[in-house]
Amino acid sequence: MKKILSLLIIALTMISSSCKKFENEPEERTTETDVFDPTDKTGTLSTAYLLGIYSFLPAGFNRIDGDFLDAATDDAVPSSNRSGISLFTNGQLTAVNYPDNNWNNSYTIIRRCNVFLKNIGIVPIADAIRQRQVAEARFLRAFAYFELLKRYGGIPLVGDKVFALEEDLNVPRNTFAECVDYISNECDYTAANLPNGSAVIAAEFGRVPSEAALALKCRLYLYAASPLFNGGGIESNNALKSLTGYLTADQNRWLPVISAAEAIIAKNYYKLPTGTGTTAYSAVFTTKINTDIIFSKQSANSTVIENANAPVGYVAPTTSNGRTSPTQNLVNAFPNLNGSAYTGTQTEATQYDNRDPRLKSILFYNTVAWLGRPVQTFEGGLDKPNQAFKTQTRTAYYLRKFMADFSTSTTYSNQSHNFPYFRFAEVLLNYAEALNEVNRVEDAVKQIILIRARAGITAGTGNRYGISVGITQTQLRDLIRNERRIELCFEEHRFFDVRRWKLGSLLAGSFQGLKITQNGTAFSYELQNVTDNVFNDKYYHMPIPYAELTRNTSLLQNQGYY
């Protein structure tokens, strides 16, 4: 008996000794009450939550399989033959392989904003700060909706709802009109409640200023008033047509563009920086804080752009990839130094002289200086070696925009590379386009002159900067579209601008580049077709990603896609 007892005691002590207290749940983790803490007067973690939403804003530059979105337009072709960007131009785009699928990312931003808005009331921060942060969250949400709207048309609006795991997510698409009204209301609210750009301190640079909300509203109505969305939809059935645009045209939709632009100008903080010419234009993109940039995607200083896009013959410190090949068509769009349209030769080196100074800031061409030697884009040159497996330019041009001036340096150094979402120059161009459309032609000309003056175009007779006296609305429309193409190239505008103007034919056909042969010290130039692009009417709108259609049975696919 004693034996059994002692045995049992040994057994029990062994088992019970393990019942010591230890942490039941990992205490080091951050939970919802830590983030939205009713006792935290400074709202440290709730502010960190808001700042975290900024990280989901879309990146720019070489974001589609290593290429710019503009490599799917008439501005450029991708240097690589295997880039996913080609799906937009080679007729192979489907709802399954669509490479610019931002659906999940946008709804992530929307959800995080809604979580923030739902819970910020708990945190005892000062009212002024709360008002600003709520407005920031509402702006980021409106921006995410706009990024969806411009691609697909109407999308499901979820309002302030934070979905739970078990909820029914078969939410149908709202009409285009409903989405525009929603985003516009959000912009009005946030413009009134965000601080002006002048009040955002340097340490907080990157957070949304009030002018950004006005700029978003300006662009929103610019798109809504444009031919494709303003009653010009390609759909045969009205249900689909009202999802991707207004059913009927209305010229009054241009008016909010004008009032929003005037509101930004009236706040008198954002303006074109002083300075003209190539260096002034380049400085907009490499100087982190300047008055042209209203809202941009912040990133660490780096040499990412140089490494991705510089000509392939440069290896300092690592091989450059030369991803983007701007077309000869883009070069032809640059006017002369005096502002008149260029009609001269395309097969001489002289075509680059006496042109719009922005050309030298945007492109590399044969013989221009970079990192201590001239660029060699002739056949067999260092930057176009024609070797197996080697990605190189297809047009004898490379993209220079967004890089700092390294023409005489020997190596790159980290630069500021923030992708601009909203620029003051764009506001002026939107203003000019809207003014022209409501027949205030001369008012529109005044805005274009501001852009051209900063670009370094000479003033000419009567300070017209090359715009002819008595220019008609139709002529000025083409001039404004061309100015917009050059000023905002590679900032993801052309892709959507060509579509909203219903000028899809501009994206079809062959685009050209140069084939340069070296003969001793001279070069001979020859035009050649580098691509044969396809455009169908269905490409005016992007397909709703197929995966989403199978999960949400209320979604209707855009016309032409399966």
Partner: protein, 936 residues
């Protein structure tokens, strides 16, 4: 050498008494009788039942059948030996073999001496038997860990009698098996095919391909520095490597103590070539293992026994570079023979801007790294028979401690490669450098460390009253694992088992467990479940109507059904947790702001997965036990499986968590047949096992599909999905008459697909599950004979009705535009060879007419038969006659020859490659082995 640990605990003051203890079964010195008695006993972790009284499903193999297999990890030696257990090996790298073992389609848990341990490398000689537990009655007691089945390893314990010492030495040579379906192309053929592919894709050869000068260079080989043709496999791999194993063990005992002590060392070398430039270290991928075990059982008194089992092991692995063996094999697949020379004219390593690497330097000039794993395992138990309270009653308490640590020592360096890029003014070649030559670094880090402790208290009862026999056990146990910085993970509960037989004719068994794990809401507490199981059996041969059938020795029908579970080891995923979001930058100096956001969406309803396991079978022996057979049918339904739901909508705005909503069914047959006959000096045996496994996906919350053939639900789990291929387009007329492909214009030589919905367009609505839905058949067969001192045995193992999907850069050409191409591509479609083409038209996966868009999507074109049967092991041994060896004091001496993976019959798909490793991984070895065993 001998470690005799004795534990004497004087509880009541009386000393140890010399009394013969009677065991439930007789333990005899005679080896073959011991074998027979083990074969007739089912050792099912928590209880042992004689085979004739059991309603469970299990299979057993004795350690001595496979303990001479020249492998480091013992699961590799079990392939083909147990019905229901399938073992496959991914590659041959020592201690990184990528093997997986499945029991009836699930992942079983490994138990060593009744305690769960995920230890797959121990000394082979320690293993007395391996039993796989397959049905509900045997698995119910495992509670939330049982639904995958169990592999139970019982180690050798000593037995009373004279001390036995055994020494075994084995030396073998490994030869690499072919690891690619077809050989890579030489540079000339590669360049020609590449140019052809460019034209197919609509790209210019002038701008993107190989010039005529280059083609001439590859063909003539007149400038090997500029136009190299390098077979990289020959550069880095050699054709043989050694493997050796030494084992010394001793066992014995008397009526007070019995012991088994084992020491083993195994040394398996790798296939990498080494270089004289590394004088102080090796860059080969070899492994060394050192194992020691001491199992001691003590009779403290006539009623109390105690034991202490200790095992320790050290595993040392050497690697080129930083565990870079896998990277070297990836580089081999990604680098064509024309890429760059091994050395440049000036002696530096060759390289190019496209491949800033040199495979030889990756192997011999990247330094080395060591991985050291050390493990200690200690079990102690105390058992008291309580016959004075009630005859047959006993109580036992045990505890165990396990500690495991893996340390990595990384001593690597980088190398520079050089590409010639012109000629300088003085006529010398100039080079461009990629990478840098660095000094060798020296760092160490902990790879993983974990420890666990285990406690168990059990009470048992074993008694027969006239015709009624009872064997019952009830136990409580707790297993606590601490892994890295994680909070402890504990599984604890009570379980029990009762077996009843009436006259050994009618059998009934019941098992249950009330068991659960922690890390559940709220507060990380326990969630318990009740898992019952019941089994019934009938020994028909004992019935009067079969009593007189002389050739029928045993015939038993049995069935069982019950519940089991599998715990999800997710780390507190019911808590909504926030952590640092992706970085966001603010301010004039682009400082990273502090950001926070949800890590994942919490699922407050997590629970363990459930299984309902059904098994029915018939077991029999005939003709004086010379023929035995066993056939079983099983059907297991797994529910509440932890999966991400199929209809996860982007509107949620965050990733869906795993939810317990999945449901699958696995069903099939297991069969085993053995025939053994003995005449005086000659005996032989033939045995075979077969296992048919099938499955069905019952529910996975699949997203809505427009057509019913697009659903995966209702088909076998993991079935291939894609288009149905109907051959290649032979000419343009065929294309014009055919449905269009959305987003692609086909050309002759492309694969044509079937339009399932008849809408004239081939797109995602024409995808469906494809491939055979028949059961996969796993076969194993063992034959052998013994005659006087000679013994022979051979094991065959195979898989039938298996299909493989061919893809990736080990089979297809020019993947990513720059990888290898193979002889299989020589059979590609060209206008001239259209009728005999065995491969679609070539593509570089780029360009306006990129063929990969159509030909490399998932389709039935690339699905081929993967059947094979292997002569897995074969052994011939000779025991030198006892009277000769006893003169020098040796009890017995046996010399033997054996081979592993010597020959494989496989489907034409593999073209001679190893059916388990045909995608270019580290080759599995064919081993020729000779050994010697001496017993004193």
């Amino acid at each position: 050498m001998v470690l005799l640990c004795c534990l004497f605990i004087f509880i009541d003051g009386t000393g140890a008494q010399e009394v013969t203890v009677i065991r439930p079964y007789n333990q005899l010195r005679n080896d073959s009788l011991l074998t027979d008695s083990l074969k007739n006993l089912k050792q099912l972790i928590y209880f042992n039942t004689p085979k004739r009284l059991s309603t469970t499903s299990s299979a057993m193999v004795l350690g001595k059948e496979f303990n001479t297999t020249p492998v480091v990890a013992y699961p590799l030696a079990l392939a083909g030996r147990l019905a229901g257990l399938s073992v496959s090996q991914g590659n041959g790298e020592p201690l990184n073999e990528g093997f997986s073992y499945r029991l009836r389609g699930q992942s079983p848990l490994i138990f060593i001496d009744g305690i769960p341990r995920s230890v797959t490398e121990i000394s082979m000689e320690e293993i007395e038997s391996v039993t796989v537990l397959k049905d509900a009655v045997s698995l119910a007691m495992l509670g939330v860990r049982g639904s995958g089945g169990a592999i139970s390893i019982v180690t050798k314990k000593g037995s009373p009698g004279k001390q036995q010492i055994s020494f075994t030495g084995q030396w073998g040579t490994q030869r690499p098996l072919q690891n690619l379906i077809s050989h890579s192309l030489d540079a000339y053929n590669y360049a020609q095919l590449y140019n052809e592919a460019l034209v197919n894709d609509g790209l210019s050869v002038a701008g993107n391909g190989f010039s005529q000068v280059a083609l001439n260079g590859f063909q003539t080989g007149n400038n090997p520095y500029l136009y190299p043709n390098v077979d990289w496999r020959d550069q880095v791999l050699k054709n043989s490597a050694t493997i050796a194993r030494y084992n010394l063990n001793t066992s014995g005992g008397n009526n007070y103590v019995k012991y088994f002590i084992n020491l083993e060392h195994i040394n398996q070398n790798g296939f990498f070539k080494e270089s004289d430039i590394n004088t102080n270290y090796s860059t080969n991928a070899g492994a060394k293992g050192y194992f020691i075990r001491s199992n001691v059982d003590v009779n403290l008194t006539d009623k109390i026994t105690a034991g202490i089992y200790i095992q320790g092991r050290i595993l040392n692995k050497n690697n080129p570079g930083n565990a870079a063996a896998d990277n070297i094999f990836s580089s081999l697949l990604a680098t064509p023979n024309s890429a760059y020379p091994v050395y440049n004219a000036n002696g530096s390593y060759g390289g190019s801007s496209q491949f800033t690497n040199n495979i030889l330097a990756q192997s011999i000039n990247s330094g080395y790294s060591l991985s050291n794993t050390r493990t200690v395992l200690t079990d102690v138990y105390l058992k008291h028979t309580l016959d004075d309270l009630s005859k047959g009653l006993w109580v036992k308490v045990r505890a165990s401690f396990f500690s495991n640590l893996n340390e990595n020592l990384v001593r690597v360096k980088s190398f520079a490669v050089f590409e010639p890029n012109g000629v300088s003014g003085t006529g010398e070649t100039t080079y461009r450098q990629f990478g840098t030559n660095s000094e060798q670094g020296n760092t160490n880090s902990i790879g993983f460390q974990n420890r666990s402790d285990f406690q168990e208290l059990s009470i048992g009862y074993n008694r027969t009253f006239s015709k009624h026999g009872f064997d019952a056990v009830i136990l409580a146990n707790r297993d606590n694992l601490v892994n890295g910085t994680n909070l402890p993970y504990t599984i604890q509960g009570i379980s029990g088992h009762v077996a009843y037989n009436y006259d050994e004719k009618y059998l009934a068994e019941l098992s249950f467990a009330q068991n659960g794990a922690n890390r559940y809401p709220n507060n990380g507490g326990f969630k318990y479940g009740f898992f019952p199981a019941a089994g019934l059996g009938w020994n028909i041969n004992k019935e009067s109507f079969l009593k007189d059938v002389s050739w029928l020795n045993n015939l038993k029908l049995y069935t069982s059904y019950g519940k089991s579970g599998k715990n999800n080891t997710a780390y507190y995923t019911y808590m909504q947790v926030y952590n640092a979001s992706p970085t966001a930058y603010f301010g004039s100096s682009a400082a990273a702001g502090t950001t926070v956001g949800e890590s994942y969406l919490a699922n407050p309803n997590i629970t363990w997965e459930k299984a309902k396991i059904f098994n029915a079978g018939v077991d029999g022996t005939l003709f004086k036990n010379q023929l035995s057979f066993n056939v079983e049918y099983y059907s297991n339904v797994y529910s509440d499986l932890s999966i991400v739901r199929g209809n996860n909508s982007g509107l949620l705005g965050i990733s869906y968590p795993e939810e317990n909503i999945g449901k699958q069914r696995y069903y099939g047959w297991d069969a085993q047949i053995n025939w053994a006959q003995r005449f005086n000096d000659f005996g032989y045996f033939i045995s075979a096992n077969a296992s048919l496994q099938n499955s069905k996906l019952i529910y996975s919350a699949e997203a809505n599909q427009r057509y019913e053939w697009m659903y995966r639900t209702g088909h076998p789990v993991g079935q291939n999905y894609g288009y149905l291929a109907e051959g290649l387009f032979q000419n343009q007329q065929e294309i014009t008459g055919y449905p269009t492909i959305e987003g692609y214009s086909p050309q002759p030589g492309d694969i044509k697909y079937r339009d399932l919905n008849g809408d004239g367009v081939i797109n995602q609505y024409d995808q469906t599950t494809f491939g055979s839905e028949k059961a996969t058949v796993f076969l194993g067969s063992r034959i052998g004979f013994s005659f006087k001192g000679i013994d022979f045995s051979a094991l065959f193992q195979g898989v039938l009705n298996q299909q493989v999907y061919l893809s990736g850069n080990s089979y297809r050409e020019f993947q990513s535009g720059t990888a290898q191409a193979y002889e299989i591509q020589l059979g590609r479609w060209t206008p001239a060879t259209a009728t005999t083409a065995t491969y679609p038209r070539l593509t570089t996966s780029s360009g306006p007419r990129n063929g990969a868009q159509n030909n490399f999507v998932s389709s039935s074109y690339w699905l081929r038969s993967g059947n094979y049967v292997r002569l897995k092991t074969i052994e011939l041994g000779y025991t030198i006659p006892g009277k000769l060896t006893k003169k020098i004091g040796l009890q017995s001496t046996r010399i033997f020859l054996n081979g592993l993976n010597l020959y494989t019959w496989s489907s034409d798909t593999f073209n001679g490659a190893d059916p388990e490793n045909y995608t270019g991984g580290y080759p599995i070895g064919k081993v020729f082995n000779v050994g010697l065993n001496i017993q004193l």
